[in-house]
């Protein structure tokens, strides 16, 4: 579905990604793991077209993405749940979800998708009229994911969903990812929490200092010496 | 040779009126220098991130102050000016201290100063029995018997005024240079970039900002007094309120408020613009100069935020830097 070939990107005077290639097939949950500063968030921002790529090509279902405007990606079926959730703090939970369905194609399906999100996250329905800023970290993450789902995306980009959350909350977040995976959503998830994410992912890529160092099925990656030593302390 | 250039320039400028130019060109030069002095005083604050939209208040204190003191109390400007300057400093302090202490910056600061400028204008209009309100006021003439009066600080000779204003203009540039060269300037630039960081390394932000504000206010007050004594007429629109305050902003920005002679260039530019328009189109086309001012201010901010002189200086520095860089490789 999503394919990146030889993508390079960076910020003014500083290159963050070098020659990155990866792909996400329909129905898969693909993890991109790596340490702080490896370029994981940059990778997602490039896919979301918040930053321009300097080289390489991105395609979604065969259609070239490199020049598409960031706000047009939703109509290509890509929804991005940003790092740190980035909810609209003074809008209610339901208003945040409504914003997720802003594009005309999504408005028609608002009611049914809202119901689906509330089924997935019952706590969101309880708190539907609360300002999003008053939710706990875990609830905010669920709201953010729900907001992305409101556009009916084909591909969901999750940027470090466990960041800044307490361990027990992290468990529930990955449980959500596992459930979405089981329901057939296609997910690209970027994470520092390697053990947890590789448990719910189909495949993974290891990103270090802007380059893909390893790739394979989740199980295979977990088994790699490199990862075991450097990240899992084995 | 380069160091002598400014002095040569001053010498030429000083000699200029002796070439026998008519009264009108002399009048233009006087106005240029006078407004240059005022714009320079505004730019002292402006370049350090303190955009005031209320300098008209200080201008008014100076202008109306000397006129009212003379007309109502018979006080010579020699006596009233020190009082007015003290009052100006006080106002600047009273407004500035809370603003800086409470970190009122940017938009909020601009709008608070706007209120100040408007208060000045309103007070003038409200006191119409004394000030003549919107019709303006004229200092009682002391020139009935003589062509000049030192006590009243009125001179009918434009030549005398030229040298007076020239002196103040040079004084203004000197103040600019002193503020520029002092440690205060580096500190204040640091502040305008990142106030908390500056404060954390011990720079007394409030004191520095207050210092520059008071200096700027005092100079503006002087400018107002000069204006009143020269023109022998003041009215609330010309010396207070948002109109003249914005005019100062425009003058300083158009010329380039980060460069010493920038505000002067701005003053010359705006005055010449008004003159050219007047000559080309006659007295009947009201509003064309304002329209063009506005258009130019917009264009300047969009395309040349450093002003004419600022942009020119930057271009000049870039050109000079290139050969050096080339030879370094």
């Amino acid at each position: 579905m999503l394919a990146l070939r030889n993508i390079s990107a960076g910020y003014a005077g500083f290159q963050a990604l070098f020659d990155v290639s990866l792909e996400v097939k329909a129905g898969e949950t693909v993890a991109v793991i790596g340490p702080n500063g490896a370029g994981k968030t940059t990778l997602l921002r490039v896919i979301s077209r918040l930053i321009d790529s300097t080289a390489g090509e991105m395609t979604m279902e065969g259609r070239r993405l490199n020049e598409v405007a960031s706000y047009e990606l939703v109509s290509h079926g890509i929804a991005h749940v940003p790092e740190n959730r980035r909810l609209f703090p003074k809008l209610t939970v339901e208003e945040n979800l409504r914003m997720g369905a802003f594009v005309p194609q999504a408005r028609a399906h608002f009611e049914e998708r809202l119901a689906r999100v509330y089924r997935l996250f019952p706590r969101m329905e309880e708190r539907r009229r609360q300002p999003a800023g008053t939710l706990s970290g875990g609830e905010q993450q669920m709201c953010a994911i729900g907001r992305a789902l409101m556009s009916g995306p084909k591909l969901l980009l999750l940027d470090e969903p466990s960041a800044g959350l307490a361990p027990v909350v992290v468990q529930s977040i990955f449980e959500v990812v596992r459930r979405m995976s089981a329901e057939g959503y296609t997910v690209l998830i970027v994470e520092q929490n390697i053990r947890q994410v590789l448990k719910v992912a189909t495949r993974g890529y290891l990103l270090e200092t802007g380059r893909i160092r390893a790739a394979g099925t989740a199980a295979a990656l977990l088994d790699t010496d490199e990862i075991k030593k450097a990240y899992l302390g084995i | 040779m380069k160091r002598a250039l400014p002095w040569i320039g001053v010498a030429l400028l000083s000699a200029a009126p002796l070439t026998g130019m008519g009264n009108y060109p002399l009048h233009l030069m006087i106005m240029c220098l006078l407004w240059a002095f005022v714009y320079t005083s505004w730019a002292l604050m402006g370049r350090l991130g303190m955009t005031s939209l209320g300098h008209g208040a200080f201008l008014a204190v100076g202008a109306y102050g000397v006129v009212m003191a003379w007309n109502l109390f018979g006080l010579s400007p020699w006596l009233s000016l020190p009082v007015l300057l003290a009052a100006t400093a006080l106002i600047a302090f009273v407004i500035g201290y809370p603003c800086f202490r409470l970190k009122i910056v940017g938009h909020y600061f601009a709008l608070v100063t706007l209120a100040l400028g408007e208060i000045a204008r309103m007070v003038i209009v409200a006191l119409r029995d004394q000030t003549g309100g919107s019709l303006g006021a004229t200092p009682n003439t002391a020139l009935a018997d003589a062509s000049w009066s030192l006590i009243a600080l009125q001179f009918s000779s434009k030549l005398a005024w030229f040298y007076i204003v020239l002196g103040f203009w040079l004084f203004g540039l000197w103040v600019w240079t002193r503020v520029d060269r002092s440690m205060a300037r580096l500190a204040l630039e640091a502040i305008s970039q990142e106030e908390d960081a500056a404060a954390s390394i011990g720079i007394n932000v409030t004191r520095l900002k207050l210092g520059v504000t008071v200096i700027s206010a005092l100079m503006t007050c002087l400018g107002g007094a000069l204006y009143a004594q020269y023109q022998l007429y003041v009215n609330p629109e010309t010396v207070s309120g948002i109109g003249v305050s914005l005019q100062m902003v425009f003058g300083a920005i158009a010329g380039g408020m980060f460069v010493r002679l920038g505000p002067t260039v701005g003053a010359v530019f705006t005055l010449l613009l008004a003159e050219v328009l007047r000559l080309a189109l006659g007295h009947d086309i009201h509003g064309l100069d304002t329209t063009l001012y506005g258009l130019m201010l917009v264009l300047f901010i969009i395309f040349m935020p450093k002003g004419i002189l600022g942009a020119a200086t930057e271009a000049w520095n870039r050109r000079r830097a290139k050969p050096i860089a080339a030879s370094a490789t």
């Binding site: 809008l91 802003f102 | 409470l102 948002i242 086309i285 509003g287 001012y293 506005g294 130019m296």
Partner: protein, 289 residues
């Protein structure tokens, strides 16, 4: 004592009516600032242009008021959008003070252009609405109508912002600009629409003011500064704060003008503003300072 009370009461009521208009002005300004983070120093000049538009449509082209007024609103809405697109957009990335100053340039430009186009004579739309008496107080129907329309407009804007997708997007973008594209929203388009809305509110204000005051190219200078101060008093960007501040400010003007001369009412209001700022720099309900 009775007569005193009545006149004071009249001043208070007039203050409330004045507050309505100020609140409308503040609403437009706060909308623009809250969403786009820019202060339109030339807002009053947009209103001035609107007043001339209403005047010409009604007097020269003979449009009835109920057509001229919407016409005026549309024109100023377009002006607002144009202001954003041609003047604000290029400086959105620059220092905030430049954004404020560039609208200062537009202020001069519009004043000058109006002087060129319309001359300096005072004009009046010539519509005289009656003054009526209520319990010993004399109230102007024009003022009352203006108040009601202002109130209606504010309710309309409120509903728009709360109930529609676009309105929600406008509120959202003021809270987090960078996340908007992720929802398929083009921020530039929202800014443009907000600018048009701000312009439309100015247009409505113009219609209301033209019924009560003469038109003159410099009339923006008489209520422009007041509008900003009301906004800052309420907390720049906060629409409810602006609403409250408008009425407080108007009371100072009206009641102050009753006890002293008219201008002193304004001086009092401005002094109150400065004093209030020192007590609470972020304004009544302002969050960020």
């Amino acid at each position: 004592m009775d007569i005193f009370d009545i006149f004071l009461l009249e001043a208070i009521v007039n203050g409330v009516l004045l507050g309505g208009i100020l609140a409308l002005l503040a609403l437009g300004l706060n909308l623009i600032f809250g969403v786009i983070d820019v202060v339109w120093i030339c807002y009053a000049e947009l209103i001035m242009i609107g007043m001339y538009t209403a005047f010409f449509l009604h007097v020269d082209y003979g449009w009835p008021l109920w057509l001229a007024f919407p016409g005026c609103t549309v024109v100023v809405a377009a002006l607002g959008a144009a202001l954003h697109h041609f003047v604000i957009r290029p400086v959105l990335a620059a220092e905030p003070i430049n954004q404020l100053l560039v609208t200062g340039g537009v202020l001069f430009f519009l004043q000058g252009a109006a002087t060129l186009a319309f001359g300096v004579e005072f004009r009046n739309i010539g519509v005289r609405l009656p003054i009526f008496e209520v319990g010993g107080m004399f109230l102007s129907l024009a003022r009352l109508t203006a108040f009601l329309i202002a109130l209606a407009s504010m309710v309309g804007v409120y509903l728009f912002l709360k109930r529609t997708y676009l309105g929600t997007a406008i509120r959202a973008i003021s809270q987090d600009r960078t996340t908007m594209p992720l929802m398929g929203v083009n921020p530039s388009r929202i800014f443009l629409i907000t600018s048009a809305l701000g312009g439309a509110l100015a247009g409505v204000a113009a219609c209301l003011l033209v019924l009560q005051y003469d038109i003159h190219p410099a009339i923006g200078l008489s209520f422009g500064p007041i509008a900003f101060l009301v906004c800052v008093l309420g907390g720049l960007g906060n629409m409810i704060g602006g609403f409250l501040a408008a009425f407080i400010f108007a009371q100072f003007i009206s009641v102050g003008g009753y006890f002293f001369h008219l201008e002193w009412g304004y001086v009092l209001a401005f002094l109150f503003f400065i004093g209030f700022m020192f007590w609470r720099p972020q304004g009544l309900l302002g969050g960020k300072s």
